[in-house]
């Protein structure tokens, strides 16, 4: 069905961005914020309306389209500028506009004292617009526009306070790392295009998702290559090994940005892409294995790093990387619905945790070091319980949101073992325990115990304004209740989200796609075990950081300084990349490319040489332009003679 | 094509050779005695009273141009007259007359414009 309101969902934030961006300083601060929030509110309202329309359709016809026109028409390459709303994109737009709106409102309070407020809201609106293009795109090239657009906004917002060199560096790191991934995604697009072109029927757009899906059988030959290249893009955008390194640094941006872009929405674009192209990924068991392995590996790896971080936002950043690993692993075992479910619940609780951390940072006057906090529970009566709700949700305490979606993934991983030992499940299971532990550590260090802040900082601690706390409360409610969206059958629920998404996904490859294949008993058992490890992790954290702080010191003494150092320095991955990639490349660029090729060959020989030759010739020719009509007429006559002689004798 | 051009080329060649021949011959054979009368622009006639490159008042050109334009366009009337006779027979007289009427109307418009703009005033 056609629904022309889809374009307005995308356009509303873009209009907001244009207003804020063009008027900029001429706009009063209050108006800038209002425009920014209103634009997203309009988008949210339209999105809800469109999704209700979609839901009213019969399950197998749930597709709304809106074609703006032909975008590229070049021979057999026909691409429309069009949007497509199906159950998958419906879930995504609700998350993007819903959580996006809350974070916009939060930013009103958080950024109130910043110069450049219109610029901030312009970028934020632009981001929402680009993200909506990404999830609503009807074809790969348009999706790629959104993909690049969110990358650009991410870069702009990480370096929002660009007067500090470190922020600018972090922005560049994010951008460049993402480019490596984007390169893969682009190549994947070309591979798909080349493979599909000979099979294309008349009137079919080359990269359109419905067309790709209908022609999935023609793509079998390139499925592994295309999937792996796409997955390279996913590792960039969704911060997986080996390209996850930019995400922790991205915390240099303002905290609402971290919540919106680097936790709730943009980083899940990779998961969305895999879900969107599930029919392609399931064609290649090899690629699926790689995806699952990398995903769960990232989850475990990042969780261990999170344990040793002292910056409150860095803990959350590694936690995000770890949770993204879960989602990617879910896609890898074919449980796309579970992956998307975790995208949704993670958007709720991680946005909540970041905004809560923002509230803490706000209260502490931009102190981010956990070691300088403590005892904030009493001083921040709204932030504290909401943060706690988020923590319990991410730790996987039933029946909160994180428990349900994570359990779905672990269950799928267990079933996906195909007879062997369920390594994937084990790694995920350990990660769950680590997650509970480091989140408890964060809560304990920040909110419990005695304050370690300086006396004057302690005196100034204050709860945030309502613009900030209201979104916290809403997100806390969602984090608590969000799990019931997809409560699995085996545990006596309706699995509504999974049923809603079912028509979109290809059936998984020897894996439990919808959670309906395993026995209820197994699921009960796994859920119980997960709950136990979550509680164990929380308990250990509480014990170590609140009840028996000496335990930590004792453990350190027993282990020696090494493990803490390795974890604190994030396994030296940044240093490793510096040695292995950055420095050799830099030398290559400097000596060969710059000194020999660029300066020697191109600058001196080609540019300089050709410039000398052309300008010399030009100057010679210029002598002929002497301004005398009789000379001009003479040349003219000469030309006529040449014409006549040529045509008479040679022609 | 080349073959048919050979006679043309031959004629050209002969013409050039002849001209050159006589120039050279007169240079060699002609006696040269200089005197002031011979150097003067007009050997027999009224003595020149100045250089040829004198400045004309720009109005001369203007009038000459107007004359040329209107004259040429008036000349156009003559062939029309001849054609008009035959058009009388073919029954297209009204059309032919109308055409000339349009032509003259355009001409008159130009004339009126020049007049109003002061192009005909000798100032």
């Amino acid at each position: 069905m056609i629904d022309t309101s889809l374009r307005w969902i995308v356009l509303a934030p873009l209009v907001g961005a244009a207003v804020n961006g063009l008027l900029n300083r001429r706009l009063p601060r209050r108006a800038a914020g209002l425009v920014g929030c209103a634009a997203v509110a309009v988008s949210l309202a339209l999105a809800v309306r469109a999704v209700l329309r979609l839901a009213a359709l019969p399950a197998d016809e749930r597709v709304l389209t809106d074609t703006l026109g032909r975008w590229i028409a070049s021979g057999s390459l026909q691409v429309d500028a069009g949007f497509l709303l199906d159950p998958l994109s419906a879930v995504m737009i609700l998350v993007v506009t819903g959580v996006g709106f809350l974070i916009h409102v939060y930013s009103l309070g958080y950024m109130a004292h910043n110069a450049g407020l219109p610029r901030f809201f312009a970028f934020l609106n632009l981001f929402i617009g680009a993200m909506l293009v990404l999830v609503l795109a009807e074809n790969l090239p348009l999706l790629f526009i959104g993909w690049e657009g969110v990358g650009l906004c991410s870069y702009l917002l990480i370096s929002f306070w660009f007067d500090a060199e470190a922020n600018a560096d972090a922005g560049r790191k994010a951008f460049i790392t993402n480019r490596v991934g984007d390169f893969g995604a682009l190549l994947a697009m070309f591979v798909l295009g080349v493979a599909l072109l000979p099979h294309l029927g008349p009137g079919e757009g080359l990269f359109s998702f419905p067309v790709l899906r209908a022609h999935a059988h023609d793509l079998t030959g390139v499925a592994t290559l295309a999937s792996l290249l796409l997955f390279l893009g996913v590792t960039g955008k969704s911060a997986q090994i080996p390209l996850y390194i930019w995400l922790p640094d991205a915390m240099a941006g303002p905290t609402p940005v971290s919540a919106l872009i680097h936790a709730a929405t943009m980083v899940t674009a990779g998961v969305y892409l895999m879900a969107r192209l599930s029919f392609l990924f399931v064609l290649s068991p090899a690629a699926m294995s790689v995806v699952a392995g990398v995903g769960i590996g990232t989850a475990l790896f990042a969780a261990t790093i999170a344990v040793a971080q002292t910056d409150i936002k860095k803990v959350l950043a590694y936690s995000t990387v770890s949770q993204l690993g879960y989602m990617v692993a879910a896609c890898g075992v074919g449980a796309f619905a579970a992956g998307v479910f975790h995208v949704v619940t993670h958007a709720f609780f991680k946005a909540l945790l970041f905004l809560g951390a923002g509230s803490v940072i706000h209260a502490m006057h931009h102190e981010q070091d956990l070691r300088a906090m403590g005892g904030l529970a009493r001083r921040l009566p709204l932030t504290w319980p909401t943060m706690l709700a988020g923590t319990l949700a991410i730790a996987g305490v039933p029946p909160l949101a994180g428990f349900v979606s994570k359990d779905e993934i672990l269950f799928a991983a267990f079933l996906g073992a195909r007879g062997g030992f369920p390594w994937l499940w084990l790694a995920g299971f350990l990660t769950a325990g680590l997650t509970a532990f480091y989140m408890m550590r964060l809560i304990a260090l920040a909110f419990l115990g005695e304050s370690r802040a300086s006396p004057e900082a302690r005196a100034n601690v204050h709860e945030s304004p309502p613009t900030m706390t209201v979104p916290l409360v809403v997100l806390a409610a969602l984090s608590v209740a969000g799990g019931f969206l997809g409560w699995p059958h085996a545990l006596g629920g309706g699995a509504r989200l999974q049923a809603w998404l079912a028509p979109v996904f290809a059936s998984g490859h020897g894996a439990a796609a919808d959670g309906g294949h395993g026995s209820a008993g197994l699921e009960w058992t796994l859920a119980g075990v997960s709950t136990l490890i979550a509680i164990a992790g929380l308990g250990l954290g509480y014990l170590a950081y609140v009840r028996r702080p000496r335990l930590v010191a004792a453990a350190r003494a027993w282990l020696g300084g090494r493990p803490a150092q390795v974890l604190g320095r994030k396994y030296f991955v940044d240093e490793l990349y510096g040695r292995l990639i950055y420095r050799p490349l830099q030398r290559l660029a400097d000596v060969v490319c710059f000194r020999w090729v660029d300066r020697g060959l191109i600058d001196n020989l080609l540019v300089g040489g050709s410039a000398v030759v052309t300008i010399f010739t030009g100057s010679l020719l210029r002598l002929m332009q002497n301004g005398l009509v009789r000379f001009y007429a003479w040349v003219f006559a000469l030309g006529v003679t040449v014409f006549a002689v040529y045509l008479t004798f040679l022609g | 094509m080349t073959a048919s051009a050979v006679p043309v080329l031959l004629v050209l060649l002969v013409a050039v050779l002849f001209a050159a021949l006589f120039l050279v011959l007169s240079y060699w054979l002609g006696p040269r005695r200089r005197d002031p009368l011979k150097e003067s622009p007009y050997e027999c006639g009224i003595p020149a009273r100045g250089t040829v490159q004198i400045r004309f008042f720009v109005r001369f050109f203007l009038v000459a141009l107007f004359f040329l334009i209107f004259d040429l366009e008036a000349v156009f009337l003559y062939p029309w007259v001849l054609v008009f006779r035959s058009s009388l027979e073919s029954g297209a007289a009204a059309f032919a007359l109308g055409e000339m009427g349009v032509f003259l109307a355009i001409l008159v418009t130009g004339f009126v414009y020049v007049w109003r703009k002061g192009g005909l005033e000798w100032q």
Binding site: I615, L621, Y646, L647, T648, G651 | M1, A5
Partner: protein, 499 residues
């Protein structure tokens, strides 16, 4: 015995509106004493709009008119609209310049109208006589326009040079037409095609054709008939230069394309060699000379020569397939179709970007008796007039053929057609040339944006001009991003001409 040809008034209506409108404007100027200068601008604008409306409202049966003297079809209508648009833009630019100068030049308006009339006739001509009539009506009006500043020596000198050399070219054109008449026994394109197709013309026919082409070559500024271009473009007031660079060139190319496709489809082999050499020379000389200019108007003059070279590449691509297989009608060749529609698209884009550039140049006004014609006069313009600088920058990017602008796509279509016509070396040479050209176009942008110098005295402002130039620049970008609709149109228009 004279027979009256049937007169299809609806088809001729636009020409009558423009011609009659010109006369009316002239008379109003001569008789109405209480005239304010914007009255004439408005009246001229109305005439242009009237002609456009006449074309939209009255849709005549396409085909030959007046016994085959003129042809009205979608192809000619495409050019009619383009020329009317250019005429309208030039009128607005001109009246702005004259009001800035405080120098009222009422003859400007009818002259633009008559020039446009001549151009429209020129493109529609299907007979050498009408071709000559059109070319002369256009030329005489433009000679007078070049002399747009009566008191100024440079302007008068330019007009005189243009007049002298133009008459020279017209004489050759006439001579060629006479020779062709002698060989073919008629002056219509169809008669020429009939003789040319059989190859019975002989050398006289070939020379006649050559001389007619010399007439075209002069108007489009093809090397070696280009010598007048820089002097005249430099001497004429900027808005007139803009008119010449766009309208005259578009009309001449419009007529040339029709002439070569209709009158000489079978003759390509005879002169494609010569045209190839001249195309290369035109591109190269234009670009090399543009590199060393300090004056922006001279630079744009040489750039227009270079662009004529790119366009000639398209003409060659039209002729190339016919040369390979003379018996085959052009309309059956996809290469011809691609080259033709590419040419029309390129011309449209070329007109848009040049008009935008000349709009900015003309509105900066005069200081100390000269226009802002040196590249150095544009130092720091972005600081003083950000909009004007942006418009000029867009025009320069487009002229240089930077992607995202219509200039890029125009070149893309042309070079692509040339490659499909197996003119690969020429296409490569064209690309090398457009690389060369980037230097001198971007120099203007660099000067505008990378200098804080605010001492240049040229700071004229005229919102009408800048609004119009801004719209043109917007079109340059728009067509550079969404070319499909317009490219479809040019393709259709060229198709109608092939029949």
């Amino acid at each position: 015995m004279i027979t009256v040809p049937p007169v299809n008034w609806p088809a001729l209506l636009p020409y009558l509106v423009i011609g009659g409108g010109g006369l009316v404007v002239m008379l109003v100027d001569a008789f109405v004493r209480t005239l304010r200068k914007d009255h004439l601008t408005a009246l001229t604008g109305l005439v242009f709009l009237g002609a456009a409306i006449a074309m939209i409202a009255v849709k005549p049966e396409p085909g030959p008119q007046l016994g085959g003297m003129l042809t009205v079809q979608m192809y000619t209508r495409f050019f009619d609209f383009l020329l009317l648009g250019i005429g309208l833009v030039t009128t607005v630019y001109g009246s702005a310049v004259y009001s800035q100068d405080g120098d009222y030049r009422p003859e400007f308006y009818p002259l633009v109208l008559f020039a446009v009339l001549g151009m429209m006739v020129l493109v529609a001509a299907s007979d050498l006589l009408i071709l000559f009539l059109g070319i002369e009506t256009m030329s005489l009006a433009v000679y007078a326009l070049v002399c747009g500043r009566r008191g100024e020596l440079r302007s008068s000198e330019a007009a005189l040079k243009y007049l002298l050399l133009g008459s020279f070219a017209s004489a050759f054109l006439l001579m060629g037409a006479a020779l062709l008449y002698g060989c073919a026994g008629g002056t219509s394109y169809a008669a020429l095609a009939a003789v040319g197709g059989t190859g019975e013309g002989g050398p006289l026919f070939a020379v006649g054709l050559g001389l007619v082409l010399v007439g075209f070559a002069f108007k489009v500024a093809m090397v070696p008939f280009h010598m007048w271009t820089p002097d005249v473009y430099d001497g004429a007031p900027a808005h007139v230069t803009g008119f010449m660079a766009t309208a005259v060139k578009a009309a001449a190319f419009g007529a040339l394309i029709r002439f070569v496709t209709i009158a000489l489809p079978g003759l390509a082999a005879h002169w494609s060699g010569l045209l190839t050499v001249l195309t290369v020379l035109t591109m190269t000389a234009g670009n090399l000379l543009a590199l060393v200019q300090a004056s922006i108007k001279r630079m744009l003059a040489y750039s227009s020569i270079a662009h004529a070279g790119y366009l000639l590449l398209g003409v060659l691509a039209i002729l190339a397939p016919a040369g390979g297989d003379p018996g085959r009608p052009l309309r059956e060749s996809a290469v011809v179709q691609a080259a033709g529609s590419g040419l029309l698209f390129y011309l449209l884009g070329y007109c848009l970007m040049n008009l935008a550039a000349f709009g900015v140049i003309s509105q900066l006004g005069r200081s100390g008796g000269v226009e802002a014609d040196q590249v150095d006069h544009y130092r720091g313009l972005s600081g003083r007039q950000p909009v004007a600088a942006a418009v000029l920058a867009v025009a320069m990017f487009s002229l240089a053929g930077i992607p995202g602008t219509v200039g890029f796509l125009g070149k893309f279509y042309l070079f692509e057609a040339a490659i499909r016509a197996q003119l690969v070396p020429l296409a490569i040479w064209g690309v090398v040339n457009s690389l060369l050209s980037v230097y001198y176009y971007l120099r203007v942008v660099v000067v505008m944006y990378m200098s804080d110098d605010q001492t240049e005295p040229f700071d004229g402002r005229n919102w009408e001009t800048i609004l119009l130039a801004g719209c043109l620049a917007a079109l340059v970008v728009l067509l550079g991003v969404f070319p499909a609709a317009v490219h479809g149109l040019t393709s259709l228009a060229f198709g109608t001409m092939l029949g």
